[in-house]
Structure formats: C-alpha cells, structure tokens
Symmetry: C2
Subunit: 343 residues, 2 copies
Amino acid sequence: MAATMQDVARRAGVSVKTVSNVVNGYPHIRPATRDRVLTAIAELDYQINLTARNLRTGRTGIIGLAVPELSLPYFAELADSVIEAAESEGLTVIIEQHGGRREREVEILTGSRRHLTDGLIYSPLALGPGDERLLDVPYPLVLLGERIFHGPVDHVTMRNTDAARAATEYLLGLGRRRIAAVGVHPGEEVGSAALRLDGYRAALDAAGVRPDPALEGEAGLWHRRTGAEAMAEVLDRGARPDAVFAFNDALALGAMHELQVRGLRVPEDVAVVGFDAIDEGRYSNPTLTTVDPGREEIARTAVRLLHGRTRGAAGEPQRVAPPFGILVGGSTEPGRERSASEP
Amino acid sequence: MAATMQDVARRAGVSVKTVSNVVNGYPHIRPATRDRVLTAIAELDYQINLTARNLRTGRTGIIGLAVPELSLPYFAELADSVIEAAESEGLTVIIEQHGGRREREVEILTGSRRHLTDGLIYSPLALGPGDERLLDVPYPLVLLGERIFHGPVDHVTMRNTDAARAATEYLLGLGRRRIAAVGVHPGEEVGSAALRLDGYRAALDAAGVRPDPALEGEAGLWHRRTGAEAMAEVLDRGARPDAVFAFNDALALGAMHELQVRGLRVPEDVAVVGFDAIDEGRYSNPTLTTVDPGREEIARTAVRLLHGRTRGAAGEPQRVAPPFGILVGGSTEPGRERSASEP
DNA sequence: TTGTATGCGTTATCAA
DNA sequence: TTGATAACGCATACAA
C-alpha cells in the first residue's frame, strides 16, 4: 500500500531517522543525503502518516472550533475566517455545532474528540457564570463571546456594550425616540444579549429617554425567524417603535421582514440597525445598517493565541477585544447604499 | 498525565485486553469484570486515546468535506447538514475550503491531510472533464455537484437541468418572455452553470421563445456581489428583462439588489427566481422564489454512502439525485409570502 | 472468558 | 552527520 519511512529509507540507503530528519526540515543533513532521500520520496510517492506522527508527538495539528451552528451566517463567516487563519499557520480545523444546548456544550469540552485536537476555540451560548470551572481543561482553550468572563483562559470578545451604545446613540441622533431592542434574554446577566441591552439602555438613559419594556423583544437563538417573531410580538403588544436595534444581523433581517410584511416602511417608519456586519446585509432591501465587530481580527487573534498556547506559550490569560465600527446602510438613512465599496 | 489503558487495567486488576474489550463493547465479558473495569475508568477519569486507536486500526472516524467556501450560504447550510449527519453516524468532519482554485482542489485530493480522514465528500468547482483520473484515489470519495460525471466514484447531484427547466417554465407560465439567466459560465460544457443553462434554454425553446445572448449574465463565483455585477452588466447592455433566472440564491439576491437600486420593481417589472432554497430567501424583500434541490437529503446521502464505503461496502459507483421542488415567494408573485410555514 | 505479545509509523534518545 | 532502537497507546492473533 502506501509507502512508509522504512520503504523510503531502504530505497535511499539511509536510516529512517535520516528520512525523518529530511521530512521535518532538520538542518544538519549533507545535501547529497537529502537529495537521495527526496528522490526516494518522489519515486515512492511517499506521504507522511500524520496519525503516527500524532501518536508519537502527542500533537495533532488540528484545532477544534465550537459554534452554535453554521446556518447562522455570522458563524459561517467566522468559521471561514478561522479555517483561513488556521490554514495559514499550518493547522486543520474540526467544527463542532452545539446549537446552544448546554449538554452539547459540556460534552464538547470533555468529550474524547478533544484527544484529536491540540486545542479548542469555543463559543458557547448556554454556559454562563458559575461554569468557570468547566473551562479548567487540560488543553489550550480560547473563549469567544461573552458568556463567561473570569475563566482561566484566553478570551477574544467584542466591544458589546460600547458598540450597542454607539448604535443606539446613532439612532437617537437620527431623531428616533421609540427604539425597540430585539434579541433580549430576560434575566440574563452576562452574555451578548445582556451586554448589548446594557449599552442600549445606557444610551437611552444618557439621552433622557425612558426605556419602555414593551419595546423589548425576546429571542433565544438569534435567527432570522426568531427576529421576525420577536418583532411581531413587540408590534402585537401595541408598541409603536420608530426604530429597532437588533442584537445581531439575522435578527435584524427577520425583524425588517416582519415590519415590511405589515406594511411599515424601513427606514421611514422604522429604522433598523443590526450587529455583525454579515455580507447578507449589504444586499438586503434596504441594505442594513450594522455594527462591524471585527470578525476577521477576532478569528485571526483566536487562532494565533491558541496556536501559541499549543506550542507552550505561558503567561496570564489574555483578553482581546478588537475595535468596532458602524456601517450605515439604507435601513436607517433613505437611499444610503453600502454594497460594493466599504469593508 | 492522562490515564492509559494500562493504568485502568492495573487498577481493575485485569489485562489491557480486557479493558479494550470493555471500551469497545465486546459482548463476552463477565459482568463483574466489566464493572471493575468501568469503576476503574470512572475513578481514573480515563478516556481512550483516539490517535493511538487510529494508528492501530488505520481508521480515524473523521471524514473530510471540501467546499468552495463557507461564506457562500448554500455551503454553510450544507456543511451544517453534513456535520449533523456525520455526528449521527459517529463521525467527525474536517472542512476544507478551496475557493474554486484548481490548485487547491487538487491539493485537497492528494495532500497528506487525507491520512487524517477515512474519506472525503468533495464538491469541486474548477475540476472538470478530463480530470476523472484525479478522482482515482486510494480512499473512499463521494462527489458532490456536476463538474465530473464519469468518475469512478459515488456521486450525489442535483436535478439541475430538469429543475432549471421547471423554474424557467414557471416564469414563462407567468407570462414573462424576456428572461435573463444570471451565473452563466461561457464555454463551459459541464458543471451546474452549463446544466442549468441547458434547462433554461430548453424551456425557452419549448415555448417558442428565442434565446437572447444579451440576457445572459456571466458570473464566475456565485456570490451576491457577482450576481449584482452580472445583473448590472445585462442592464447596462440595454437588455430589458422582465424576469431573471439566477443559477443560485446568492446570485439571485445580488441581482435583485441591483434591480432595486436601479428603481426596478420586483416582481412587477422583473420577476426573480433563484436556486438552492437557502434560509435567507425566506426573509428577503420580497421573499425569493427558488428551487429546493433537497440539500438535507444530499448531505445525508453523501455521508451514508461515504460511511458505507469506509466500512468496505463494495459495488458499482452510485449516482443519486434527490427530487427537487419549486418554492414560490414574492419575487415572482406579488404579495406571496414564504416565511414561516413551508420546508 | 481473559492474558501475552506484537506491531501500527513515527519521533526521540543516545551513541557512533 | 547519521544509525540503532525504544517508546507513543491501542487493538488483535493467539494462547490459555
């Protein structure tokens, strides 16, 4: 079958150790020897057996990426970026979906699949305060998102509160006063939902606008569908928003859909702002105003931190939060386009 | 560090063989022995080392999934479904992105990463006729898509021509006569683009409508952006379509965006049909009429076929093409909604 | 029903 | 600069 190092060694008239040295780019090899080995490798069409190397070295070159689901466009784009970043560092990615189910989230941390990976980039939804000890795992872990803050691990996060506040202030600046929040998780004290709600309320407060609970729409998982449902709930309740701040773009697009189905004009009657800057929002009708949380940088940073740890980098857990920006589209300012040009 | 079978065996007072038997569910074990072993496993917090097992058995329980990129919503949803299906068969998935670059597509087939996987679900874009021999690989391979037809491997495909024809006939049935095609790959003889173009032309032909080259918009990669660009090209050329059949939903949404930016009404002035039935099209404004190609079934079938082959299933290469359907939305019939209810 | 011994293909130790 | 040889942790003939 497939050739082994033994075969190559025999053919090149050297020892397996020498073949190994060549394959791994060990510098002190006589050029003639190296050539003989490379020739033999080419002739036999040899490829290294990664499984054997993994067993011997205890490392696999694979990292895990755990997300809620790839059908959520933000996580699909994040996975794209993570795979890209990993590739450029010579790493392979295994994606696991937990769907926000606590049991799956725990299983991912402790399951035997972790023996297959050198480390994990972990974006939980169900885990929260009190679960810090679950993060005390015997392998490198980089946390994404805002569910757990004082875990013993590196953490790449978004500037949720600041960004949410900025988004809300932007709407206030447009003269909107009855701003709905879509994606609220009642009773939650940490997590993106809580932090974004904080930012939203802080902005209202600073502007002297009284928060109205009737304008807060709940949504567990942040899908288009749940965004539409939350929007419907707010409207059915009789609240009359003149703007919506949705906690992510999928929610925003679902909410916008619901508004339009009901004959409300976006942005004239209701302005809509999302969060995530997914590509979809550049082509929606109208295009979506959104917070750009720095997804690319989040992915690159997470991979870099994790890779460093897998190679033994010591030191205090890092906490990184890339800068954010607001991308303005037609969902808040009539006729404003965002398609081709910007980031 | 982590406990090994040796440790468990010592603690339980049995041999490693017995531990192995217990771990692997071998039936003929005395209950008392099994209990001792399970207790020892629990006490030591033992987990099997998958790398060692992989080396020993020559199988990894991992399958590869190669797609253009996860940022394309169809492939994100496909990956979701594949991971789900794999999970339910006890398999893990490694995703590789090739971006439609031929060099990457070849590398994926032959690279050393294949030693890490038991088989590959492979959806190429650049490979085509003449590349059949590249598919003659020493591991199980399931082909997705329409680039290569007579390869020596299992093949799960869409009913491209029939579905494209049905979509076009549907537009003709609405009275549209100047139907643009968006996503054309000029000169291509196989591939989704060619097959869908065939179906489109066949429908026109059968209806006695003369095909107009000015109505055919090129798009290499099928993104929202390229859809918008192709649509712009067609319009700038002076063609005056009353409908668009886009070869996938991303193109369709991009094209619809371009139409709307130019002040054309969808569907009144121009009706739009896509292909793929991604979730996004249920919430666009208007909602998107599209071909449902049976993504879930494609994913399940591909995983099932591959898993079978990895376990030694012999026999002729299979060719499977799930049935398709047309989902009608507001992009072709005013006021028609498709959100919550249907598949 | 359970134990012993061997090898999967690689890297690491040490010596030459 | 290179070679001989011992692990890495598990599964499996074969033996008991």
